[in-house]
């Protein structure tokens, strides 16, 4: 691939990766449910943590300027299981992020209808998950067909929009927010929880690392572009939050937070502009996430961790349709659930764990390969990567200590999925034949237990009432499971010679 992009292009890549739909959807719950006006502190903390983590990305991207990002770094440092885990986490974060983007689009569409056609708004707001699912299907079909995605020109439009918002807000007059959380120190847990929840607003910056192969003089330009992007994003977010908090009091509102703020500042037009911007950002993020998750899945399939079927390419369009559709099914399922707060935390936790692994990879590579050529070195080593790991851990657990049910659900789901990931890796290493025999045994036991259960219900030994149709289904299921179990257990051992 030719390296055509310069420093300015790299900075735009970092900014376009960061400035996205997240600002339109994550600040709502962070402001109204977690930290109130202290979300300004939460954004500052998020920016500092992001900068620590980006130093590690800078060093690793300069030392290993290859396509693959986190997966490549963890593979170089640890190999095997850790690389597989980081790949899976990256995939999960993309899937959760895509679901969140789809729901964000549906919410902004609902708000748009509220402002321009209120008679349809009720229907649209009830059907938010359905709209999200429809959007995912359309974008998946476009991705399979190989349609071009919206380019980084969006970032210029958004910067202009936010500039208008800030200037209008200052002209409008604000109530200066009290950013110090009260009461101290208990209020700090809400700040940390909000930081964890809003963290997806920052980590789009690593899109810059993903595009390393296209950037000229990558060893120097990437670290500089990352630091400059990180330095620009934090003041922008804080300014937008400061103005929004200054015009929207705490309360129980149905409308999205930024749209409400924009409408207060620019009545009649502000909310609509932000709704359109939010919809465009959501669609762009959704399209990118569908492509990223398929790319990560194919990378792991290429390395033998996932089935080879994921590498299949469409005969007519030349696109990885199996990986795209498989991932999109997960995205549809998550979007259909419709829990924005749960998805926000889930997307955040997945990426925070990846960041922790990247920081650990930096520490490992400094020891394992001390003579690797590093055009950029993380300052204040080993403080920065260690601080990055510690802060990642703090951000993971603080919402749980805050008692946020959404965070607890997201963390438990994440741990369950990680268990599946580890099991998948183990099964891959053990070999097909042994796994098939083991599954045969499980299927056989399931069939026998179901048959026994059916018998006990039929003879009224158990106080459970089921219709005759349900009993026939149970009996059929047990018969199929028993036959499948026998077939799997009696599979022939593959000949080695």
């Amino acid at each position: 691939m030719k390296r055509k992009l310069g420093f300015f292009d790299a900075v735009m890549m970092g900014l376009s990766g960061s400035i996205g739909f997240e600002i339109f959807v994550l600040m709502d719950y962070a402001y109204f449910g977690l930290a109130g006006p202290s979300i300004i502190l939460a954004l500052l903390l998020g920016g500092l943590v992001n900068l620590l983590i980006m130093f590690s990305y800078c060093e690793l991207s300069a030392a290993i300027p290859e396509v693959g990002g986190e997966y490549t770094y963890t593979k170089a440092a640890y190999g095997g299981l850790v690389a597989f885990v980081s790949g899976c986490l990256r995939w999960l974060a993309s899937v959760f992020g895509a679901s969140l983007a789809a729901l964000a689009f549906a919410r902004q569409l609902s708000y748009l209808f509220l402002r321009i056609a209120p008679v349809f708004e009720v229907f649209v707001s009830i059907q938010t998950p359905l709209i999200a699912v429809i959007v995912i299907i359309i974008l998946t079909a476009l991705d399979v067909k190989g349609a071009k995605k919206v380019g980084p020109m969006i970032v210029v439009t958004f910067l202009a929009l936010f500039t208008i918002f800030l200037l209008s807000g200052l002209w409008h007059g604000l109530t200066p927010p009290d950013v110090v959380p009260k009461p101290l120190p208990q209020g700090l847990s809400g700040v940390f929880a909000a930081t964890a929840y809003m963290f997806p607003m920052f980590f789009g910056m690593r899109a810059l690392v993903a595009g390393a192969a296209q950037i000229r003089n990558a060893e120097k330009n990437i670290p500089r572009a990352i630091i400059l992007s990180a330095s620009l994003i934090v003041p922008l977010y804080i300014s937008v939050a400061y103005v929004a908090v200054g015009v929207v009091p705490l309360g129980d509102f149905d409308e999205p937070f930024l749209n409400l703020a924009a409408e207060n500042i620019l009545p009649g037009v502000g909310g609509v502009l932000f709704a359109i911007a939010g919809m465009v950002a959501s669609l762009s993020a959704l399209g990118t996430s569908i492509a990223v998750q398929s790319s990560v899945a194919r990378g792991m399939s290429r390395d033998g961790y996932l089935p080879k079927a994921l590498l299949s390419v469409h005969r007519r369009y030349g696109t990885p349709y199996v990986a795209t559709i498989a991932g999109s099914l997960f995205i549809i399922f998550l979007s259909a659930v419709g829990y924005v707060e749960f998805l926000g935390y889930a997307a955040s936790f997945g990426s925070i764990l990846v960041f922790a692994l990247v920081n650990l990879s930096l520490l490992k590579l400094r020891k394992k390969k001390p003579y690797l050529k590093r055009a950029f070195k993380a300052p204040l080593y080993p403080f920065t990567p260690i601080a990055g790991v510690v802060m990642s851990f703090v951000l993971l657990v603080s919402p749980v200590f805050f008692g946020d049910v959404n965070a607890i659900s997201a963390l438990m789901s994440g741990l369950g999925l990680m268990g599946l990931v580890l099991l998948t890796y183990y099964l891959r290493m053990v070999g097909r034949h042994r796994v098939q025999v083991a599954l045969g045994g499980i299927s056989l036991v399931m069939g026998i237990l179901t048959a026994l259960l059916t018998y006990l219900i039929e003879t009224e030994f158990l106080p459970i009432t089921l219709s005759p149709g349900s009993l026939y289904i149970l009996a059929f299921f047990s018969a199929i499971s028993i036959v499948a179990g026998i077939l799997n257990v009696t599979v022939r051992t593959p000949k080695i010679f």
Partner: protein, 84 residues
């Protein structure tokens, strides 16, 4: 003798494909049923007379049995592509 062996192999292949398809389908239906039960779509909880306190247990059983059935069925379906 060789013809008998080949026909047994062929019969096993057909049976594996059939049973694998059925088991995977039943597994998918079990997971979907579990989701419908959780969301109480179409008033399924009332229709199935599932007591509220036993709902998590039903869901766990349906999900675990469902996923194991899907994977076991897929192994049978793909057996013909890897067997000599």
């Amino acid at each position: 003798m060789i013809c008998v062996r080949i026909s047994i192999k062929g019969a096993r292949k057909i049976l594996s494909t059939l049973v694998g398809t059925l088991q995977s389908t039943l597994g998918v239906l079990a997971v979907i049923f579990g989701y419908f039960l959780y969301s109480n779509l179409f008033g399924l909880r009332e229709t199935s007379k599932v007591p509220a306190e036993l709902l998590p247990f039903y869901m766990l059983i349906l999900t675990v049995f469902g996923f194991f059935s899907i994977i076991s069925g897929l192994f049978l379906l793909t057996e013909s592509s890897v067997s000599p």
